[in-house]
Point group: C2
Chain length 204, copies 2
């Protein structure tokens, strides 16, 4: 059997470190996660770590960008996108966010929402990557909200952008309630209120 | 001039450390904040630190409890409590949460919401103190919501408890948006949506 090419091995180590960063930061936050923890989790040596990333900070920035990419693909592939009505797609997205509250907390909570809490003041580059991720995801909802507004709530005063961002605020805050209580129900109830709000805004 | 009594000095050092913990954890999170940072900020020696608290963890738990106490007094003294109508008190509370988004991020964001993000999996005692603070504060809103529900939305399906918790989810999530964007407007717009939701729920 042919040995994998060097590029393929490096790609694989990089992916392992990105995965380790995602799991560990979602569990313990950015500051508590050390390079040693990351190497142990990824099953790699420190030499391999520093061959791929010059620092924990650089890995965190790449992990946030990778998170944006992967979550974007994940939501694009979700079934609600097939609905013909833009409001049904937006409501489908909200219900989907509730459906994926499965498993343990580090499996469904948000890497970038967690990371920005600790780094917003001390690390502008990590903060920027978290901003791009959260606000970029909100932006991906704008078109459907704008179309739905045109169809069902033309005279409303709120902007599509503010409603898209509000949906992200509710979801991020719901994760905090779930982490504090250890009970996912506190998160899903808040997403129910968000769905109810959207229905009231659009008279649906 | 008489020297302050030993008890008074200890009280003062304890308060300085609680204040330092509140400022530093709101700025950089729990893990990034070291005992050295806390001593430097409080202007106290390590000896004084360990005379008052056996560990950073113990200080964090006391800081969370102190936060619950101080925020509870702060909200009890706020002007909206004087309103006669329970819905007006609840809406007054929501608007007050928007009004106090003033100054720099560490001055208006939430100590316990920040701390629980990093400690929920690793530190059950800190998590519990954060839970008591967030869920205890939500509970303080229950009576007014229940009275308002009785007056204006008797047949509604949602529970007062879930709406009180939802208000906290929105506020916690709004802080995350403000931290990621560096723009307090993203937080205040989300609180506007929360107020709008409550008005729609109560037909007001």
């Amino acid at each position: 059997m042919a040995r994998p090419k060097k590029d393929a091995i490096q790609q694989s180590s990089k992916d392992k470190l990105l995965e380790a960063a995602t799991v560990l930061i979602r569990t313990n936050g950015y500051s508590a996660t050390t390079v040693d923890d990351l190497c142990l989790k990824a099953g790699l040596s420190k030499g391999t770590f520093f061959h791929n990333f010059k620092s924990k900070e650089e890995l965190a920035i790449h992990a946030a960008k990778n998170w944006s990419l992967k979550t974007s693909e994940f939501f694009k592939a979700a079934p609600y996108n097939k609905k013909k009505d833009p409001l049904e797609r937006f409501l489908g997205y909200i219900r989907f966010r509730k459906e994926i509250l499965q498993g343990d907390l580090p499996e469904f909570t948000c890497l970038v929402g967690t990371m920005v809490q600790e780094t917003y003041d001390s690390n502008p580059e990590i903060k920027e990557a978290c901003y791009e991720s959260i606000f970029g995801h909100a932006e991906s909802l704008n078109d459907d909200i704008t179309l739905a507004r045109e169809l069902y709530a033309k005279k409303s005063k709120w902007s599509s952008e503010s409603l898209a961002l509000h949906s992200q605020a509710v979801i991020q805050g719901a994760f905090i309630l779930a982490k504090a209580s250890g009970d996912v129900k506190t998160a899903s109830q808040s997403i129910d209120h968000l769905e109810n709000y959207i229905r009231l805004l659009f008279n649906k």
